[in-house]
Every structure is written in C-alpha cells, then in structure tokens.
C-alpha cells in the first residue's frame, strides 16, 4: 500500500489527488496533520505544485462526466478527518464510471452549501471604533472564503471583516477586493452608535411577529441554536 502525504493546503490537496489518480495499486491520502506512520505502508510526501494543481482543477471541470470541482473544494472545506481518502475514492469511482450514489462527498458538499447559504443571511456586522464593519462567526465548516465574493460586491463601499473565531482566520474586504488572513480572537470595541442601532433592529424584529402565533419549534429549526450567539436579534 502506498501512502501519499500532502501539506494540508488546497493546492497541495489538488496536487496529491491528481498524482494519486495516475498511480496503480492501493493508495491512501493523508494530510500532514492526519498522518500516523503505519508499519506496512510506504509514506511519500507530495509537495504542493501550483501549476499542476491548476491543470488538475481544469480536469475536474472538463474530464469528468459532470464538473466535479465544486464537490472536491467543498469536501476539502468540510475539514473532515480523512477527506483525502474520501475524495480520492469519489473521483476514482467516477473515473471508472462506477455508481457513486449517496457518496459521503456528496453529503459533505450539501452540508457545506447549506451552511454557506444560511450564513449569507446570518452574518451580522457591527461597526467598530476604527470605522469598518466587523462580524464574528463560528461556522462548522471552513466557509469564509465562500462568503467573501458575495460580501465583496454587497459591501463594496466600505471596509468589512468576517472573522472565523474557531479557525482564527478572517476575510478582510475593501472596495471590491478581499483577502484571507490569520486573525486571533480579539474583541473590537464598538462604535458609539452601534448600541442604538442594534436596539432598533431587535425591536423591529420583535414587532414583526404576530402575537399569539409564536412557533418556537419551527423557529429553532430554521435558525439552529448554534448560530444564535452571533445574531444581533437573539442578543
């Protein structure tokens, strides 16, 4: 059995998958963090190769029965243990035209999509003292990069930050551009007008409900508890 180990980055991920698909025999793929040396395998490090990765990305779009770049990316962002092996299995089967009905990669892709779509609505910005708009989130999956393009066009006329507190990463946006940078979980003092505006929003939100028709269960399904701490109206 051959074990391929990549550096954990997305280009590294694509590189190792691209290489693995050309190999014969049994193969396992691990990121450096996941890899535990085993007695029988022969581990081989695969260095991230940007050009190769880009080439392979094209293949994912054009060389498969259906474009599969998105499921591959989304499965990677789900950050599940053993994603490398999962995605390899997925692509390997597709290549050999085997049935991939109800594959875990598909599930992960759906889960990530769902969280992304939800988050487009649930991100709550607060104006902070230095004048930009700051939002903290704790998503289950690593989705800030997926949120960025939407907010870059939506918030084009001011600076904004979306901070993933658990992964200690943030997207910083200004004008139409954005970049992802590490950012430790620090508290940013709020602008003085912030409290008043948040209060107005909370009151508006409350007044929207028709009294006597409260349906907590439905509401909890629609807005899962884990998102509440970051929602202004639930504060």
């Amino acid at each position: 059995m051959k074990e391929l180990v990549y550096d954990g980055s997305f280009p590294g991920f694509l590189t190792v998958l691209g290489k693995a698909l050309t190999e014969k025999g049994e193969i396992q793929i691990w990121s450096e963090d996941e890899y535990r040396p085993s007695l029988f395998g022969t581990a081989q490090k695969v260095k991230a190769d940007l050009d190769f990765a880009l080439e392979f990305k094209k293949k994912l779009v054009f060389d498969f029965p259906e474009p599969v770049y998105r499921p591959v990316l989304y499965a990677y962002l789900a950050e599940e243990e053993g994603t490398g092996n999962l995605v390899f299995d997925f692509l390997h089967k597709l290549k050999r035209k085997e049935a991939v009905f109800a594959h875990r990669v598909g599930e992960l892709c759906q889960g990530v999509t769902r969280e992304k779509v939800r988050m487009l609505g649930f991100v709550r910005f607060r104006k902070v003292e230095s004048g930009y708009f700051y939002a903290s989130i704790r998503p289950k999956y690593n989705i800030i990069g997926l949120l960025a393009p939407h907010f870059a066009s939506r918030q084009a006329n001011h600076q904004w930050v979306i901070h993933d507190l658990d992964r200690e990463m943030a997207v910083l946006g200004r004008e139409k551009d954005w970049e992802i940078k590490p950012l430790p979980p620090i508290k940013f003092p709020e602008d003085i007008a912030e409290e008043e505006i948040q209060k107005l929003w909370r009151e508006h939100f409350k007044a929207l409900s028709v009294p006597g028709r409260i349906n907590r269960k439905r509401q909890n399904n629609l807005v899962p508890r884990r998102y509440w701490p970051h929602l202004t109206e639930k504060g």
Partner: protein, 401 residues
Amino acid sequence: MELVDRLKILTAGARYDASCVSSGSRRKKAGGSMGICHSWTEDGRCVSLLKILQTNDCIYNCRYCVHRTDTDGPRTSLSAREIAELTVNFYRRNYIEGLFLSSAVRGSPAQAMETMLASVKILREEYKFPGYIHLKGIPGVDESLLKKAGYFADRMSVNIELPSAESLKKLAPQKKPADIFNPMHFLEKNRREEKGFLGAGQSTQLIIGASPESDREIISLASYLYGKFSLSRIFYSAYMPTGDPRYIPGVQNPPLLREHRLYQADWLFRFYHFSFDEIIPPGQNDLETELDPKSAWALRNFWFFPVEVNQASYRELLKIPGIGPVSARRIIKARKERTLDFSHLKKLGIIMKRACFFVTCGGRRIPGLPSDPDHIRPFLTMPVSRPRQPRLFAPPGGERF
C-alpha cells in the same frame, strides 16, 4: 415619541402585509443575490426586508383596516430621512436585503406618496443604496409620482384588496376602482416601454374573507389580472378580524385554510398549465376545503388516469397528484435512459403516497390499491395540511401537490 417606539408601532402596522418575497431585482449584480433569509420571526416567517409603514395616520376609513380613521390607536410617522437611515444601517449590518415600504394615507394620497418617494430618493441618490426596494403605490395618485417611484423601486404593488367593485364601495367607500386600476395600467405600460423600469415587476393583494365573493369570483379575477398585467404574483391575505365588525360581521378567525387553497389554485394556474375551468368547474362556487384543488381535479376527472409515466407528456405528468414541475422534468430526463419502475419514481422525488393511485409503470399498477375515486378520496385528504402559520407569504417554491 422616541424613534424606537415609532418603529415598533409602524412595524406592527406593516406586518400583516403579504410579501417577504424579493426576487428578480434588476440590481442583482450591484446588490448581491436576492431572496436571502436573514432571520425567521418568532412565528416562523422569513425576514429579508425592513418591512415598515411610513405612517399609520390615515384620512380614509376602510372598514377592514386597523388604521382606519374610526380606530383610536396611536398615530405616528417616520420621516423620509429616518426611513432611509434605518434601511442603510440595517443593510450594512446584513440584517436585511432591502426595504418594503408602505404607508397609510396621511393628508392626501399625493402627500403620502411624496413622503415615501422622498425616503427612497435619499436612499438611492444620497446613500447609493444598492439593495432591493418594494414600494406600495397609493390608490389615486398621479402618474408623475408613479413614474418617479418606478425608477427608484424594484417592485411596486397597488393593492386591489377587495375582489369586487361592490365590496370596494361598501368597505372602502373613499376608493374608486379607477384609483387602483389606472395606476396598475400606468405601471404596466411603462414597464413594457422602458427597460429597467420596475425591474422586478408589480404585484397586488386580495383580502380573503372580508367580503362575500366566492372562490370562483376570486380565481376568475386573478386569471383576468394575470392575463391583463404581467404581475409577478398575486398575494391572497386571509382577513384578520381587526376591521369594523359592524361592516364585517362574523369573522372570528382569519380563513387560513381558504387562503392556502387559493394559493394552491394560483399555482396550478401559473405553473401547472391548469385552465380556470379545470381549477373550478362550471357550476361550482368554492374550492373544496378538504382536498387540494389538484387532487380534487384528479378525482373529478378520473377517466384521465392512470397515466403511464414512461410515455406521458410533460403536461400530462403535471396533472398527476404528487408530481410537480421539478419531478416531471426529472421523469422526462430519467426515462430517456431506462424504463422507469416504481422504485425509480420514489428516488426521483415523486410523492408516491399520492401518485400511486394515478400512474402505471410499464403498464403495471401497484397491486391492491383502490381504483375508484370514492375509495381513493380518503387517502388524499389524510395529510390535509392543517391551516398552519398564517400564510402571509405564498407556499414555498418547491411545493408539490
């Protein structure tokens, strides 16, 4: 009064309005995608817009309305600047995708409309607001005001509210049919002539249950309206008994189930290629409450069935209870590759609990099922969706029946 108190009153005043839907904005590119739900209210409705009244101070006395001159709740207003600032502040914080602004008639129709216009003008011109704006058109206003409004707004709605001229006369004596239909015609004309004018179209609303019109009359009005105007949609709003009981007696609870059935009928009309007579046959005045209108049609027209899913046309598939536009298209795609059997149908998302009575697969039916309408009927009425939450917005997109 403090801003926050006025906000509370004017939000509560707007919440019975049907329309959380925002789609098809011409500003899609500049403003991000529409139809994002930012939150859900305690009663389970999607929040995507700041939905508010400019004022609840009204010179009219429409009998069905909480804001009529007869009532003595507190009267208040927000200034154009306040509306604009609230909207921008909420938008920047990602609380909302846009504004849904409505108003009572303060002073005169023109004056009320002008204040609303001033609000959206500040938004668009001063704040360069890229989000979605839905503006209520006030009956009886001048064309010049409507024209301006149409440039600022993505969608407008002039609400018909009462489904007949008679009821309008009785319950909203100060409004004339022409006050409503002229603006609708005017908006329609401009929309046809000019690209970018009201990019997301116009809609309107009918109140259900405040006046004696039958479902037949309401559906016939709706089909007329869809034919005459390119309406994005019609909202049906079950009457909340907040009006004047001397004029609208005997309504204890809003007729939510009836509202729901009308939405289903509306869908059959718009997306299922049903004709008016198929939805409600000649001689019948109201939709069945017990059955959804599609199942009701199927049982009345049982000769049409069973339909062979491997051969039926798209329109025929749509007639089968349990199959909607999405699953009908899936069937057509899937059967190109293989002959479909019952297990395939399930995987394609067909609601077999309903469809099983009406289909054959490769000439075969599922054995043991009843095959006359009277015996099938109880199976179709079983999961009658209880009148759920007030359906202040239409059934969700994927609904199949």
